[in-house]
């Protein structure tokens, strides 16, 4: 079939203050009518700029198409005059973006912006366009479309805005929709809804989709074909199911390995790719992946591997793709470790059962048993945190119910995972546990004694035992301090070490987290995201704490780097005998690292269970919804258990069970009476009238 879009040997230069850099070199791929192609890559892979180049949006952003061709149907886009190109944008090709909040003009109504798009491409009376716009909003599942048309972007939630953005994109009836990380900024349950919507629209409207993502799970769920980009070049491409089942490029193999798969063995180190993706200005010679590749040879260092046809629509750019070691590594993935692959495979051959977890097959893994519940190290008793909101001028005072009555105890030696979507209060709960802010009511006990911000001396002393690893590894270090000083800060606060002893200790710590002891005098900006998180970890363990709170500690990192950090954390935890709470919105990571997991929804703890059990048999409908929202877990599962709508505002949580507004199983009882948080077996508890 003739492709709808054909990209051949596309090369894009960007002009920066430091000169012209090549962001994308020589990439070729095509999209057939009705097909979904995913561009998968990490930061710096060039995936976003490539997608913008197709729309020629690079013309406005210091970018230049330096070579190659982009053909839409019969039209060569790369050389079209700007005025003609404008007629194609929004009409034949439409685009949606990562941050729906930032992608609308805040000072015009949604309706105005949709009608304006229509007017750019055809004539029509205002009232008629407005009506069509409302119809489009209805089409993408927005309730009260007439009202929404009149609202400003700031008045809608992120999920709603992304739907509106899709509606706006549809207004020109495009042949191709480019979606640049359309769900990255959204919560998982909303992400699932948006992905479903895109799939449904594609099927019913027969358009093609070019989906840009960093998430192989999303790619597996959506893609007919996948193009893996690394450092501005294509590493590999092919039909989704085959590419995921038997990757041919060591980078793809590594990426798939990095994902903490649903059936990976908790505690077992993930197979991470070393290092981090290169920047535009320091591209390695030869194969750009060679510095991070376990199979690299001299040939990889010296010459660039061509992208070669492998038959069956598959291509890969690797000198060693035929080497037994690479094949073996690829084979070890074999559709087993990766939910993504299962999903894709499942769609091709629906009869195939997802393989069973192979726990016993892995030698030398630590024992699965949860640690004997010794005395609790940290305990929360009925913690409540309300943040007051505005008010005044006759308006009623409101408050955000961030944490609303949470009791919890963390046993010595355990790793407690805390999951929930935005607004669930998980981070607030974490900060309350460490007493980094005062609670509205309730108590925190550390080793059985009350820990409070009021008792200043004890509080300060307790900091030596209770440390934290932050989400944003750059924002949480002072840019003016050298990393030696940064790591030594807790030593200065809690110990009397001499400067030379401190330096020695810092050197030791740096090596412990996999950095070089000689880097003490460097500054944070000289490091990559993963390295900065290692610095944050070194600081946290500097004073030999008993407890560490990891607050979304890997969320901001590239997929291939996340695995390294998870491994480092697990390793340190074992070696130093740490207790920890691991907060994340990524469920797989939590499952991999935690012995017990707590699920939060709108300020309440709704379920606690040992990690494996939680995933195998969730008791709370919300937990089940979360698990089935994981992209790549298969559309089949999700349809049987999807949640409707959006997370309600934490300023006015619903009555009764807070989940009832979205729960497919809710009854009158759920609306009226709040379920108690009660035990349902060994080490399990759930707050639901009708546990699953």
């Amino acid at each position: 079939m003739k492709p709808l879009l054909d990209v051949q040997e596309l090369t894009i230069d960007v002009h920066t203050p430091r000169g012209t850099l090549t962001a994308v070199s020589d990439i070729s791929f095509s999209i057939a009518p009705g097909e979904t192609v995913c561009l998968v890559g990490e930061s710096g892979s060039g995936k976003t700029i490539a997608s913008k180049a197709i729309m020629r949006l690079t013309d406005y952003e210091n970018g230049r198409i330096a070579g190659g061709s982009i053909t839409l149907g019969e039209t060569a886009l790369q050389s079209l005059p700007a005025s003609v190109m404008r007629g194609i944008r929004g009409k034949r090709i439409a685009m949606i973006f990562q941050e729906p909040m930032a992608a609308f003009d805040p000072v015009f109504t949604i309706g105005h912006q949709i009608a304006e798009t229509m007017r750019a491409h055809r004539h029509g009376r205002g009232a008629k366009l407005w009506k069509e716009g409302a119809e489009l909003l209805r089409r993408v599942g927005i309730p009260d479309p007439e009202l929404r048309m009149k609202q400003y972007p700031g008045e809608l939630s992120g999920g709603m805005l992304q739907r509106a953005m899709i509606a706006m994109a549809l207004s020109g009836e495009p042949e191709l929709l480019i979606a640049d990380e359309p769900t990255t900024a959204l919560d998982v349950t909303i992400q699932a809804q948006i992905l479903d919507l895109l799939n449904e629209l594609k099927d019913s409207l027969g358009m093609s989709i070019l989906l840009i993502t960093h998430d192989l799970g999303v790619a597996a769920e959506m893609a007919d074909r996948i193009v893996v980009l690394y450092a501005g070049k294509i590493a590999e491409q092919g039909p989704a199911s085959e590419l995921l089942r038997s990757p041919r490029h060591p980078y793809t193999i590594g990426l798939l390995n990095s994902i903490a798969a649903l059936d990976s063995r908790p505690g077992e180190p993930l197979r991470a790719i070393e290092g981090s993706p290169p920047g535009l200005s320091d591209m390695p010679s030869g194969c750009r992946f060679h510095p991070r590749c376990a199979f690299a040879t001299d040939r990889c260092r010296e010459s660039v591997p061509p992208l070669e046809e492998l038959g069956g629509g598959r291509l890969a750019a690797c000198w060693n793709r035929g080497e037994p070691a690479v094949l073996a590594a690829a084979g070890s993935i074999g559709g087993r470790r990766v939910p993504a692959a299962q999903a894709a495979a499942g769609r091709d051959t629906p009869a195939e059962q997802p393989p069973k977890p192979r726990l016993a097959a892995l030698p030398g893994a630590p024992l699965e048993a949860a640690p004997a519940l010794t005395s609790p190290l940290l305990e929360a008793r009925d913690l409540v945190k309300h943040y007051p909101l505005g008010g005044g001028w006759g308006r009623p005072k409101r408050k955000v119910h961030a944490v609303d009555g949470v009791s919890l105890s963390i046993a010595e030696g355990e790793t407690f995972g805390l999951v929930g979507e935005s607004g669930s209060g998980k981070s607030t709960l974490g900060r309350l546990l460490l007493q980094l802010e005062p609670q509205t009511s309730g108590q925190v006990l550390y080793r059985g004694e009350e820990l409070s911000l009021k008792d200043k001396a004890r509080w300060r002393a307790s900091r030596r035992d209770l440390q934290i690893i932050h989400q944003d590894p750059y924002g949480t270090v002072d840019p003016r301090w050298s990393i030696g000083d940064i790591i030594a800060e807790p030593l200065g606060v809690h110990t009397e070490l001499s400067p030379s002893a401190r330096r020695a200790k810092v050197g030791e710590l740096l090596e412990q987290v996999g950095l070089s002891a000689s880097w003490q005098n460097r500054y944070p900006h000289e490091f990559s995201g993963g390295q900065r998180q290692r610095i944050g970890i070194a600081r946290a363990i500097a004073v030999n704490p008993r407890f560490i709170l990891a607050d979304e500690a890997v969320s901001a990192l590239d997929v291939s780097v996340q695995a390294q950090i998870v491994n480092l954390l697990q390793d340190l935890q074992g070696r130093l005998g740490l207790t920890s709470v691991f907060i994340a919105h990524g469920l797989q990571v939590v499952r991999h690292i935690s012995t017990r997991i707590g699920v939060m929804y709108l300020g309440k703890l709704v379920e606690i269970a040992p990690g494996e059990e939680l995933f195998r048999s969730p008791a709370h409908p919300y937990t089940r919804a979360l698990i089935s929202s994981i992209p790549g877990s298969g559309a089949g599962v999700r349809e049987s258990f999807s949640v409707r709508g959006e997370i309600p505002s934490p300023t006015s949580p619903p009555s009764g069970c807070r989940f009832h507004t979205r729960c497919p199983l809710a009854t009158d009882l759920c609306r009226k009476q709040e379920p108690a948080f009660s035990e349902i077996g060994a080490a399990r508890a759930v707050a639901c009238h009708y546990p699953l």
Partner: protein
């Protein structure tokens, strides 16, 4: 003063939004009408030259500013009198050179006093917060109800003429701008992750303030002080021009200009050159301030 509060706002917002690349700025920025560096270099040279005039006028001026040469009254610029002579036969070039000292002194001291007072108020307000913040900021708001130049004028008028009073008047009228920038900056930095991190690991509040908050808050204030130096010099010259200045044998630039106004139709040079000196100096200071602000704020990089 003139646009201090606006600069304040933009500086505060810019640095609040500053993405994290501080430190890695190379001076490779280009712009299309010649290099920004060239312009800044010229500006620095100008400032250095005028500073030399202020410090060592004797070495630069060919005549004494009090020298009245009755044989050469109201002479047009020539190779002997570069800027011509005035009604008393004084050499205008020498007058401008000698006038530099008071002109710059007013500007520099007013900025120093203003930054000190404003910075302190802003820092206290931002750091303590709560009621202290409300009270201090209301006071600042009150100061802002009168346009800067008028406030300076009123204060100078009430205090009477004199160098010290002019400095004080200009300083007070510039306090709100500096206070707001500093407050905004402190409040922004306080919310930064590294301050939270430092607190979380047990550092004392005083240590957090001294080691993290203050050092990271100062850059925008200093940038603003640079741009404020231009404004203060203009204000000082303006007050002098209106007769609130220092009544001395050697007039500063504003007073010189004011004196020359009477001879506008017969001797354009008496007014023109002191004004040129003011403009050159203020222009240079603004160019340097702009350059520095762009360097401090990576978001503005490459903006030219």
């Amino acid at each position: 003063m003139k646009n201090s509060a606006a600069i304040a706002k933009s500086v505060a917002e810019r640095s609040a939004a500053a993405p994290r690349r501080e430190g890695r700025r190379k001076a490779g920025r280009r712009f299309r009408f010649g290099a920004a560096e060239l312009l800044t270099g010229l500006a620095v040279l100008t400032v250095v030259f005028l500073a030399a005039c202020a410090l060592f006028p004797r070495l630069i001026a060919p005549f004494s500013p009090t020298d009245m040469n009755t044989a050469a009254i109201l002479q047009a610029p020539s190779s002997i009198h570069f800027f011509g002579t005035d009604y008393f036969g004084r050499d205008v070039f020498s007058l401008v050179v000698y006038g530099t000292r008071d002109s710059l002194l007013i500007g520099v001291s007013a900025v120093a006093v203003g930054v000190l007072i404003g910075g302190t108020i802003g820092a206290l307000s931002g750091y303590i917060g709560g009621r202290t913040d409300t009270v201090l900021m209301r006071l600042i708001d009150v100061l802002l109800t009168v346009p800067g130049i008028l406030l300076a004028l009123a204060i100078a008028a009430a205090l009477g003429p004199g160098l010290r009073n002019i400095v004080l008047a200009i300083a007070v009228s510039s306090v709100p701008g500096y206070a707001r920038v500093m407050r905004g900056q402190i409040m922004t930095i306080r919310k930064r992750g590294y301050v939270f991190a430092s607190r979380a690991l047990g550092a004392r509040p005083s240590a957090v303030l001294l080691k993290h908050v203050l050092p990271n808050s100062l850059a925008p204030l200093l940038v603003m002080a640079t741009l404020g130096l231009g404004t203060s010099i203009l204000a000082g010259a303006g007050l002098s021009f209106l007769g609130l200045g220092v009544i001395k044998e050697i007039p500063d630039w504003g007073a010189l200009l004011s004196q020359g106004r009477g001879y506008l139709t017969v001797a354009w040079w008496i007014c023109t050159f002191p004004g040129l000196a003011i403009t050159l100096f203020v222009l240079s200071v603004n160019v340097i301030g702009d350059h520095w602000r762009d360097a401090v704020d990576p978001k503005r990089k490459g903006r030219g």
